[in-house]
Amino acid sequence: MSTTETKQAIRQDGKVVKDTLLDIRNLKTYYPVKGGFLKRTVGHVKAVDNISFEIKKGETLGLVGESGCGKSTTGRTILRLLKPTEGQIIFDGKDITNITGAELRKARRDFQMVFQDPYASLNPTQSVGSIISEPIRNFEKRNKEELKEEVLELLSRVGLPPEAYDKYGHEFSGGQRQRIGIARALALKPKLIIADEPVSALDVSVQSQVLNLLKELQGEFDLTYLFIAHDLSVVKHMSDRIGVMYLGNMVEIASNESLYAEPLHPYTQALISAIPEADPKKKKERIVLQGDVPSPQNPPTGCAFHTRCPMAKEECSKVKPVLKEVKPGHQVACILY
């Protein structure tokens, strides 16, 4: 890879990347669909279909979209838990798109993940101490006392008592389990943490605690987040910038304020109009989208959203809009702009 030769990675389009921790270029992740007697590939589910964005060091990029739009797939592809079909993933100046084996394992210490389901993301046969120390054991040689001290430090940092060390996952509540998952992700002091709907499985009362914990840790450990969620208020609370996804495509990226104050893409407008208003006297018009999300196996031609867009024109089904900057820091993929 020519991009890894120089210290500062050069993108395929020739631009030099600065202060960017993660740079995603034209990323595609397709799942093959097998069918027929010989199990041949008969099509692809285009879970992530050509998306590009970047995350600066220390910021939080929120990723929203409805179920099945490819948010989680995007996150997992960036962490190389899934193989990208096409495109480039440049992490901290290094192209990690095609590395494999030991090299990939080594690279993993800089990017970690917090998972969605706190009940499925902890190995039921491991004690908490073992779960949190495992990442450290995988990368460094430590003696037992040092390791235990480090784990206890992490436990206290995520707000769990030292007694948790010898317990097992099933003895904790959802919120506590999620804290264990966060401690595991923190153990290696990574640069990037991808949080894949970290609070969607939790009670509302616990959600804010976990969110605030994530925010505190960001300052303390100098973390960069890719925060995936479908709850707009959660994303608003957490993110500096927000990307909106629809059917494997990124339709709009803007700063937090800009997106909520002035959503440009018709899909974003519909999403934001669906946020309940706290003031019952305030009447606002809700944009209700018609129909269902089309199949990602056979997405609509042109703009993927044109089948449900209230402002669709004839060209929408022919021209595929690309993400372009219409205002400083506000990118949108729609032919209206």
């Binding site: 997992r76 962490l79 838990l81 394992r105 080594k106 993993r108 210490r109 990017f111 970690q112 993940m113 998972f115 969605q116 389901d117 499925a120 993301s121 902890l122 190995n123 039921p124 046969t125 004690s127 495992e134 990442p135 995988n138 990368f139 010898d166 317990k167 097992y168 099933h170 003895e171 998952g181 595991r184 153990a187 290696l188």
Partner: protein, 301 residues
């Protein structure tokens, strides 16, 4: 199901820092039938392996003067048609049957788990290749294969090891399939993704994260297999193609019952191995059942 409500009214016992294994162990210890079976099996094993200290009779010396003696006196269970002491042969026979059962089970579980977990974890072409090979092995005719192997290796290798090798080579297919299907289901859990993302090697993911979570299935399979393989050994012994006749096993002791006269008039020759075989198999099955209950997180008992 009445017991369930009664149990839940009991004061909660201390469940501090119990690993899933500790919980299963406690459940198993409370299962009376399984515990009795375990003690019985243990007793059988101890008695069999201590046979030389319990009886001093020669197992293979033919004694024409003492043919087909009824139980009693010097021979507690009588003698067989060649004048050999049935009790002594029963003890030594247990040794063979248990050794064959245990070593075959160990080999079968080892190989089946290896193939099944690799196929299940990697999937794709590796999975297809390994599982088609498994299908191929499963279609082998068992008896024919054992007879042929026995004939080829006769005299080269000790008869017992030929038998163990032949049974093991043909029996791992079922375990491989079960382990694969369990691994396929288990690897969809997010903790496997987590294990990969914290930098575990594929071997570590399989050994440390996947196998401990499918181990309960493997253990239950092993007990069922243990019983099945003892029966398989006995069946082969009965047909005269298992362990050589000079070494007693429960199976080849039963061969005597092929004669109508023995079957009808001399039950002391074939009843003891038949009874002990049946009871052993039964107790192993009870243990298996108990383990299944103990290892199932959803069972109440």
């Amino acid at each position: 199901m009445v017991n369930v409500t009664a149990d839940s009214n009991k004061p909660q016992e201390k469940t501090v820092n119990m690993s899933p294994w500790a919980i299963a162990r406690r459940k198993f210890f409370r299962n009376k039938l399984a515990m009795i079976s375990s003690f019985f099996l243990l007793a059988i094993m101890i008695v069999s392996f201590l046979a030389p200290y319990i009886t001093t009779q020669d197992i293979s010396r033919v004694n024409i003067g003492q043919m087909s003696l009824e139980p009693g006196g010097e021979h507690i269970l009588g003698t067989d048609k060649a004048g050999r002491d049935v009790f002594t042969r029963l003890l030594y026979g247990g040794r063979i049957s248990l050794v064959v059962g245990i070593s075959c089970t160990a080999l079968v579980i080892l190989f089946g788990t290896l193939v099944g977990s690799i196929a299940g974890y990697y999937g794709g072409n590796i999975d297809t290749m390994l599982m088609r090979f498994t299908d191929f092995v499963l279609t082998f005719p068992f008896l024919v294969f054992v007879i042929v192997l026995n004939t080829i290796l006769f005299g080269i290798v000790d008869g017992l090891w030929v038998l163990i090798a032949a049974i093991s080579l043909l029996s791992w297919g079922g375990v491989a399939r079960i382990v694969r299907s369990k691994i396929l289901a288990e690897k969809e859990n997010e903790y496997i993704l987590a294990a990969i993302s914290i930098g575990c090697k594929p071997s570590a993911v399989i050994i440390k994260h996947l196998l401990p979570n499918v181990l309960s299935t493997i253990i239950v399979q092993a007990t069922i297999l243990f019983a099945t393989l003892i029966v398989a050994e006995s069946a082969l012994g009965f047909l005269g193609i298992g362990v050589p006749q000079s070494i007693p096993s429960w199976g080849n002791m039963l061969t005597a019952s092929q004669e109508a006269d023995v079957l009808r008039n001399k039950p002391w020759i074939w009843m003891p191995p038949a009874i002990i075989l049946t009871v052993t198999i039964l107790s192993i099955n009870f243990i298996g059942e108990g383990l299944k209950d103990a290892l199932n997180p959803k069972s109440f008992r």
